[in-house]
């Protein structure tokens, strides 16, 4: 009887110990995890059936008309008031050298004058730029804010999504995807 009591007690303390270890690891991994939530996109296809307005010509066009004739498209959401966008401008200029990519800029909640000044100052890496005054165009892409970059292929599939400014590692990764 006493033996049974003892085993019961030791099983109980073992369970407590296992639970403690388990919760320790859960907290450890949860705290180490990156804070920005980036979803696994269930449907990799980008939504393209919406109208956009060109920043320079101010003409309206359906976005699916833009995604024609190239193997890759790099959609970059940027703004003149966005500080990290300045940091990534040289990375975008580097990617622009590759003729297989069409560089598409989405000018997020910005003024035309400021946007053009920004491009003059930091260089214009884009083939086309469209206005997103309300921030709703970016929602069509499933974006959070600025800066954000999507690499898509000719089938309009999202190959890679970058939240925050692009760095050298990202540029290397993009080049690697394109070259494969």
């Amino acid at each position: 009887m006493q033996f049974l009591e003892k085993t019961k007690k030791s099983i109980f303390s073992l369970i407590i110990l296992v639970l403690l270890i388990l919760s320790f690891f859960i907290f450890k991994f949860a705290l180490e995890k990156e804070k920005i939530y980036s979803p696994k996109i269930t449907d990799n296809q980008i939504y393209t059936d919406f109208e956009v307005t060109d920043l320079i010509e101010e003409k309206k066009i359906n976005f699916d008309q833009i995604l024609l004739g190239k193997s890759f498209y790099l959609i970059n959401i940027w703004s003149s008031w966005c500080e990290p966008c300045k940091d990534e401008s040289d990375k975008l200029l580097e990617l622009r050298k590759d003729t297989r990519i069409m560089m598409i800029g989405i000018n997020y909640k910005d003024k035309k004058k400021n946007a053009l000044n920004f491009l003059k100052l930091y260089g214009d890496p884009f083939d086309r730029i469209f206005i997103d005054k309300q921030g709703t165009i970016s929602i069509n892409f499933g974006a959070y804010g600025v800066p954000e970059t999507f690499l898509i292929n000719e089938d309009n599939k999202v190959l890679k999504k970058y939240i925050g400014p692009l760095n050298d590692k990202d540029v290397y990764e993009i080049k690697k995807i394109i070259n494969n």
Partner: protein, 134 residues
């Protein structure tokens, strides 16, 4: 002179009345043109998580992302989309995490099954205790 003044006053009243009727008709037309109410937007926004805030809904948050999302919802409702269509298109873009009421899938099965499981286990314990006493 007084008669003329009276006449012009009467005319002015009629004119004001006509303008008033026209304005109210116009307002009626505006309200009839939109097929959705702001309540509907709020209802949808209350069920969406603000992905860049901590523990806030799109309705509660004033962040840039939340404000854009509210405009997006209004636009979609204006285009005649239903609540379900808006939710499912946002889930496609942002994943299940954006909705406060996620659908049953392989990833959320535990979330849905756990309360029922706990209820059954709890019930079983209570029944067992009662039988023990009898």
């Amino acid at each position: 002179m007084t008669r003329m003044f009276m006449k012009s006053k009467k005319l002015l009243t009629i004119k004001t009345l006509i303008v008033f009727i026209l304005i109210s008709f116009n307002f009626k037309n505006i309200s009839m043109a939109s097929t959705y109410s702001e309540d509907q937007t709020i209802n949808i926004a209350k069920n969406l998580r603000c992905l860049i805030c901590q523990g806030q809904t799109i309705h509660e948050s004033n962040s840039d992302f939340a404000e854009s999302m509210k405009k997006y919802i209004r636009g979609e409702l204006e285009n005649g989309k239903t609540n379900e269509e808006i939710f499912s298109s946002l889930v496609e873009k942002y994943g299940q995490w954006i909705v406060y009421d996620p659908g049953i899938s392989r990833n959320t099965l535990l979330l849905w099954a756990l309360p029922l499981l706990l209820f059954l286990i709890g019930g079983a314990i209570i029944v067992k205790e009662i039988y023990k006493k009898i």
